[in-house]
Subunit: 345 residues, 3 copies
């Protein structure tokens, strides 16, 4: 990293409620408490590392307001409401410095149809393809080798990283960030079985992705059979996730890596699905439900429920059954014992 | 959707056995029974929605022959053998209108080797790469940013969507449809452990994909170590599926999303594998077998068997064991009771 | 395959300890014992196929030193320490002949920033993008449609297959092979929950991939929040694998297809993770540990342990519990019987 922040700049970024000590160092990087050295910033994001603060050699430390220790010489403590959030703001500044947005314009190697509409403030990077009738909004950035199909629309301040494919007639609202290799608008998996063959049901719907959604690398979101597959505002999707046709995902949902959601299922706002969980088709997962990693769910789930396992069951029940499952050898012995005892009498 | 169908055009597409009522509306779209309005077509695809037909505001309704209700004013009922199949035909027409095939020819931005053979009726879209010795057959369509490796062959009427990679020496027969990001012909995962290191076994075989196969977005199919990995005629593969080297998949098989099949395994005709199922290496899954979602199978499976769970077991046995598993707390209590009773006597 | 090897060439490749018989055929291909014919080479890689050697029609057979049978007329036996390793050497030669490395240089259709450094002996294929400050080392090969982000570095003799994305500031050491569609350096999945929304924590770290690593098609490796995600020397990763931010994978590790590893987890040297296994975050998997396919691990694992199942448990315990689990119907009957018996007394 070729960056540098003065103490004054850091104050402006972190906006601490209080400071302790001071440093003459400029900050050129970021590291964990245990590994940071002079010229680096660190933070206490998790109370369990509290004891490491006293020994850190970082020049600047982001700390919670209730931290009562004192800095070492030439060390600056910044006391903030939430060190992790302050760190996120610092990282955001770092990100801008490391990878500044390119100038607006269309790279000469891009293939943009005459009938596409590209905002003057948008950037279409090298070797992108934008088909007829597509719209790219203000300040949106197609980084490189991105495909935007006919009639697809992209709102403002979106970032489509290399290799993203946004197929025909699909839409992104604003501030959507698609990591590399994301595919939006592949065909849903729909066939009719006729005379010994699976005949394709063409998928003529689309995908709508609302504001502030982020989608992880190589995830796939299928277009609806007709109507729309929807990803609600503020939802965050990790890598290699599968969202089938006609799925409707609410707002501020979290889908961890490798989750799979089958067709026509609805996921409520603020639900959280752990990695590799699999959700059946045509069901409803209630708002704020939590589904554990690798769980398999094939029935409706109440709002706020916490399920685990395959087939999924309430978390506490699953834990209890797991304990008993591991006592099966003992149970078989106990029943053996009872049978012997009775045989003797 | 900017499309429009007259009643006469719909009759030609749906070929109904019988009609009831009539409408002066032209059909401009497609919606579910409950949400369709005037100017839209709908259908009864599943008997459980039968009661919704009477209230639908759609102008045209595809219905099964045994539906005995009457249409509302300005509403047309089309009675057909199978409304879902008639709908599929309608969607197929819609698809052609929405996304017509581009004109034949090679886009000037594509990079096509001199030694490649491209049919005059084929389309090679923008920023595609076609290497030496590759063959693209009649009316096949490489949409955009597709890669076709040296010596790869593509039959007639295939459609390779954006970002598809067909590696060297792999073959598609006819009417193969590869969704965006599909990779055909990545190396199989083969190593020999020699002196503390995994030494690569170069994978010099290929992949053959037979007629009418469709493969979902970002799925990966490895080339054989030598000889061929084969996907049989009419098989349909969903998104993010992994097919390892030397796998042989039969005809008309269904692989749902995120399935993984390990090396040298054979899958029989008409088998159906649920989402996220994992199949071990060097085994045989019999024809028409059904493997449940998330199941894990590491042994041969009889034709027609229906397995579930990890490790997989017959579906009915799994259901029964699951019921008993949930009764473990009760069983432990019963054994406690028996022990107490015997201790008292 | 358009290749041909004389017996003398095969001797040079296989370096046998002993030969038996001889053949006038040139070898033009490779096949399994049961299917090979004249003009083909075959091998005995697994003792269970020993009985097939006598009947094989292959012209040349790679055999272990202790094989005592005699060749047929016009058939050459090559006796070697390890037939599979000899075969790998043969396949390596085949691979070079089938798909020779292209000449060095930058394809005119590639988009290479002025500030990128490309070794004279490197190859940058058609429609690749190389951003500012990136470095491509000696003899490395970007095949086609590859993306190399700003400041990314590639060592010597690497091979990035079509569609690979190496994002900004990530590094490959030497002899790294990335299969098609691999994504290195997508953002880690990190958010802070603030006022009802998931606020992004920008991910400003990178990914380091050490010598001789190979990564399978469409796998995704996230950059660190800060510092680095690391893949150790000689590690081999199969297709569709997810490696989250700040994961540190040791040397010579095997990750089978569709494995998922959550953030900040460490995997020890020589560990082997079966297909679709899921590993939780912030844990340590010890060196040489084996994790079964589809297993779910959310706790630290001792070096050398062999775990299976979800939640994971020692392999032998899991096998035993599975046997008892299937005896639950019998156990319930036995307890029924005991209760009846006691009621009668």
């Amino acid at each position: 990293m070729q960056v540098s922040f003065t103490a004054a700049e850091l104050l402006a970024i972190a906006q601490p409620k209080q400071t302790r000590g001071g440093t003459s160092e400029t900050v050129r990087g970021l590291a964990a408490l245990g590994t940071a050295g002079p010229g680096e910033l660190t933070f206490l994001g998790n109370a369990k590392y509290r004891s490491e603060v006293a020994a850190t050699r970082a020049s600047v430390v982001l700390l919670p307001l209730d931290y009562d220790g004192q800095p070492q010489p030439n060390q600056l403590f910044l006391l903030v409401d939430n060190p992790s959030v302050a760190l996120a703001r610092f990282c955001s500044r770092l990100e801008q410095l490391l990878w500044p947005k390119p100038a607006p314009g269309i790279h000469p190697s891009a293939s943009v149809a005459l009938g596409a509409t590209i905002a003057l403030s948008a950037t279409v990077g090298p070797l992108c393809v934008v088909e007829e009738g597509a719209v790219v909004g203000d300040r949106s950035h197609l980084q490189a080798q991105v495909f935007v199909g006919r009639g697809a629309t992209i709102g403002q301040d979106c970032w489509l990283m290399p290799g993203v494919i946004l197929a025909a007639d699909c839409s992104l609202r604003n501030r959507v960030r698609l990591q590399p290799g994301v595919i939006v608008g592949s065909d849903g998996f729909g066939y009719e079985f006729v005379k010994g063959r699976h005949e394709k049901v063409p998928q003529v719907g689309s995908v709508l992705i609302e504001d502030d959604v982020e989608i992880g690398a190589n995830s796939t979101l299928d277009r609806a059979r007709f109507s729309r597959t929807v990803i609600g505002e503020g939802t965050k999707i990790d890598n290699l996730v599968q969202v089938a046709h006609n799925v409707v995902i609410g707002k501020h949902v979290i889908l961890c890596a490798q989750v799979g959601i089958s067709g026509s299922t609805t996921i409520g706002d603020y639900a959280v699905l752990g990695g590799q969980a699999g959700i059946g088709g045509h069901i409803t997962i209630g708002a704020k439900a939590k589904i554990g990693g690798q769980a398999g769910v094939s029935f409706d789930v109440e709002p706020g429920a916490y399920l685990n396992g395959t087939p999924a069951m309430p978390y506490m029940l699953g834990q209890r059954l797991e304990v008993l499952h591991r006592k099966l050898p003992e149970l078989f012995k106990r029943v053996d014992g009872l049978e012997k005892l009775l045989a003797q009498r």
